[in-house]
Symmetry: C2
Subunit: 292 residues, 2 copies
DNA sequence: CGGGTATATGTAGCCTAACTACATCAACTC
DNA sequence: GAGTTGATGTAGTTAGGCTACATATACCCG
């Protein structure tokens, strides 16, 4: 998508497939993002125990113009995660560094998503959503269930008939009641949640359009008609909730925004009505978030 | 918090208070982040119509070591927003640039939050949460209600007695049933949602500990005992859902992580049990997100 | 098995860009 | 109105990135 953003993933892709000496550089860089950003060509060459031109060649292999360009892109690439990850080394626990870890995880997941999502995948989903007679979002297990509800919450504001269901039995029942023109949108971090998978199969049988937001190579990914697939980086930090939910919300927001922009007049009117309905509850009227 | 992150705000702070020629440089930089990152000292000097040393002095005024250091920091500072904002200029609508807008909004909100949240605020909240006999999260209006449920979902995993309530009447009732040692955690984007505010007042009366996550200078902020306050940047993009929900989720994740780390053994055991309970539903067992 | 070619890597030198020291100029003070 | 301080530019130095070329290694084909 964006050249600058691909650097690290390209680095990871090429890792192992490079010339011997360039590989040394790659390994060194992968383990020392942070310092490489501030190092000179000579320093990197010395640290990786190769000659300077080898480092330059390595940069060019990655598609950069030279070492300078490489450093700039690397800086931009790791800027965010770097900040957070470096801080997390400091064993100064407490809440503030933990916030950094959480945000760092979100950034990492968001960047990963950004690299994988291709426009077509989302555009097809948008096409199906805007044309839907009714929209049913399903998810299970807290995280995905929450995303499903939030999705319904997003889309009803646009004047669409949207509901979320997080009861496994009810999901199957709702799926069975769908027909052509209806959309079933399944959300699952694992892509294996049994009730969700079955519901998609059922909806397929009855001719509904099935979308999903999940991992590649999962059962759900194979069954849905218009899958949105994102492989998110594993998170080692077992005490920290995964960032996948957040990325899923971002995707939902993206889809909702696209649909809203395709029908601006209707959307504007709905938002006006919703805002008016709330003015009574708290006096505020400005351009605030609608709905608290 | 982190030096690198302050560059642009420092620039904005100093804007107008600089020497005549350095001001020229500042103005130029503020309007050309994007190209400055790739420009040389000479190019910036020429573009701002000043001499090269003036540019260097300008960099030092901002607290950088020199032009190189300045450029690096600027690159890191604007890396994210730049990527996203630049893309949004391109009128190539479609879903991919919209994803960039959504992520850009999240980044902007997250950075804003990061600058405002001080450790003490969070640490006090963590202290109250870990000691709670029971935890009740309340929120209204879709977004905040979702965050409340997700919070309960996060904390029950740690072995705490956590519930979420998004029914305004029920919120008051729950609040009235609380006592000393219990925690009421109110979540509100506006800080004015009537039922939520009242519930906090009621809980205060009965001696429960009241926390909140909301805007500064709001009614809720004034009433809660341990407020977590974040002023989030207004979002002009009316069709795009606000990023405030996401930041609120990040704060909740942070609190949950801190509490989890304060009681590691108990948490580990709960997570093991929860994982085991799900193994039956989908065969996966690895270090995946727990609960789909 | 050996010569030739292609690819990988290093050496030495060049050139640009960042920085420094110094000079000049303007403004403000007493 | 002269002195002093601070702002700005000029010229020169240095270091770091890059190129051209040389050497070494591996691979292929007869």
């Amino acid at each position: 998508m964006n050249a600058a953003y691909d650097l690290i993933s390209r680095l990871r892709d090429l890792d192992g497939k490079l010339n011997a000496r360039e590989q040394r550089v790659a390994s060194y860089v992968l383990e020392n993002f942070g310092s490489v950003v501030e190092a000179t060509l000579g320093e990197v060459a010395a640290a990786a125990e190769v000659s300077e031109p080898t480092v330059i060649r390595f940069c060019r292999t990655l598609g950069c113009e030279g070492f300078k360009d490489f450093k700039l892109r690397l800086a931009q690439n790791v800027a965010v995660s770097l900040q957070y990850l470096e801080n997390s080394n400091v064993e100064a626990r407490g809440a503030a560094p933990t916030l950094d870890r959480v945000l760092g995880g979100i950034y990492a997941a968001a960047n990963a998503a950004r690299g994988q999502v291709d426009g077509g995948m989302l555009d097809r989903a948008v096409g199906a959503l805007r044309a839907a007679r009714q929209l049913v979002f399903i998810g299970l297990g807290g995280g995905s269930s929450m995303v499903a509800f939030e999705a319904a919450n997003r889309f009803f504001r646009l004047g669409l008939s949207a509901t979320a269901v997080n009861d496994g039995y009810l999901q199957r029942m709702r799926a069975a009641a769908l027909e052509k023109g209806d959309v079933l949108f399944a959300i699952s971090a694992s892509g294996e949640a049994r009730d969700v998978v079955s519901s998609v199969e059922i909806a397929n049988q009855y001719g509904a359009t099935t979308l999903c937001l999940t991992r590649p190579d999962s059962t759900l990914a194979r069954l849905a008609e218009l899958p949105i697939l994102i492989e998110l980086p594993e998170d080692q930090d077992i005490f920290k909730p995964t960032a996948s939910r957040i990325v899923h919300l971002a995707i939902i927001d993206t889809l909702a925004t696209c649909v809203a922009e395709l029908r601006p007049e209707e959307t504007r009117e709905r938002l006006r009505r919703i805002r008016a309905s709330l003015a009574a509850v708290h006096g505020r009227t400005g351009p605030q978030p609608i709905g608290d």
